[in-house]
């Protein structure tokens, strides 16, 4: 986003930057409105891609349900997401983990990312 006015428009609704990155196992808490009642549905899986920036940033979560791979894409800044919890980090060397689609069972596991001694903001997946 380069244009100042466009940035100003998005800043109004922008929450803070996401605290997760590609390779992390996350719980996505989604608010779902059923008639009058609101409930929270949790979708757990591995973040396999993040794209876009600012208000338009999206991320894709992949999980295996009954032997079938399920991928869901959410906007990072959506007010419909109550929270996004990082359950486990993953050490990955690529920005998009599409290779996980070709793997089944144990091969889909990711190594835990080693926490660096200096506590910096979570950067890209290049922290290998």
């Amino acid at each position: 986003m380069k244009n100042k006015l466009l940035q100003a428009v998005e800043d109004v609704q922008l929450k803070k930057a996401p605290a997760f990155t590609v390779g992390d196992q996350v719980d996505v808490h989604q608010r779902i409105l059923e008639g009058e009642k609101e409930r929270v549905q949790i979708f757990t899986g591995v973040v396999i891609s993040m794209r876009g920036e600012g208000l338009r940033e999206m991320f894709t979560v992949r999980r295996i349900v009954q032997g079938e791979g399920i991928e869901r894409t959410f906007p990072v800044q959506s007010p419909k997401l109550a929270k996004i919890e990082v359950k486990r980090t993953g050490a990955v060397r690529r920005a998009k983990l599409y290779y996980l689609r070709d793997r089944v069972g144990k091969a889909t596991r990711l190594r835990e990312r080693k926490v660096k001694p200096t506590p910096t903001a979570p950067g890209g997946p290049s922290a290998s």
Binding site: L5, A8, G54, L55, Q77, S78
Partner: protein, 235 residues
């Protein structure tokens, strides 16, 4: 035609509405627009206000453009008129304007020369607007791009004509005039023409930045000049 405003198309993005759904919006930078001239029924035969948008460097403006907006601009003709005792027109006293347009009004204008239009005043209670711009030029385009024709087949004996339009009707189709009907869709200049996007919802007005968000797309490139008016579409 009611009062509208002049401005630029900034670009498109998305914002969330109050239900949390994403809405595609175009960001428009509107105004401030100074009123340069007021047309009256007595003098001009119609009611309108002339407004400007965007400052133009004085060295880039012609003397006429500078004199139109400035009260203390000296010219021989102005001096002569003054000496003859003529009443000189009021001036807005602003920089020369890049874009100048008129908005026709049904009744006499309530704004005077020198008043400044702001988006938050003009579009305060207006839910929907029309945005007029100049569409992106696509040059001389064929019928497939310009009119969405299907073209001809890729095979079965068609050699080079896969993007042609096929038959353009018989010469007898226009009641024996010997020519096809006017307005037949053919190849030609596509885009770079005045275009109006009608009935766009105003999503948000940002008074501090002179910015208005409308739902959906707007003709023209980012940075293109646009005119916005309350919609004339009846529902």
């Amino acid at each position: 035609m009611p009062l509208g405003m002049l401005g630029l198309k900034v670009g498109m993005t998305q914002v969330y509405d109050d239900k949390g759904n994403l809405e595609p919006v175009t960001v428009l930078q509107l105004g401030p627009n100074p009123v340069l001239l007021v047309r009256t029924m007595e003098r001009d035969g119609y009611h309108a206000v002339q407004v400007g948008f965007g400052d133009k460097a004085r060295k880039r403006a012609s003397r006429a453009e500078r004199g139109h907006v400035s009260a203390d601009f000296s010219s021989k003709r102005k001096k002569a008129r003054q000496e003859a005792g003529e009443q000189l027109p009021e001036k807005a006293n602003v920089e020369p304007q890049k874009y100048i347009r008129e908005f026709r009004l049904a009744d006499a204008a309530t704004l005077g020369v020198g008043a400044v239009l702001k988006a938050e005043d003009v579009f305060k209670d207006i839910p929907n607007v029309d945005v007029i711009g100049t569409s992106k030029g696509r040059g001389y385009s064929g019928v497939m791009k310009r009119w969405g024709f299907s073209g001809l087949r890729a095979s079965h004996g068609i050699k080079k004509g896969s993007r042609q339009h096929g038959s353009t009707s018989s010469l007898a189709s226009n009641r024996g005039s010997g020519r096809p009907k006017k307005g037949l869709k053919r190849a030609g200049q596509h885009g770079n023409a005045r275009s109006t996007a009608r009935n766009l919802k105003i999503v948000r007005i940002d008074a501090a930045n002179n910015v208005v968000l409308v739902r959906g797309a707007v003709p023209g490139p980012n940075g293109g000049f646009i005119i916005v008016r309350p919609t004339n579409k009846r529902d």
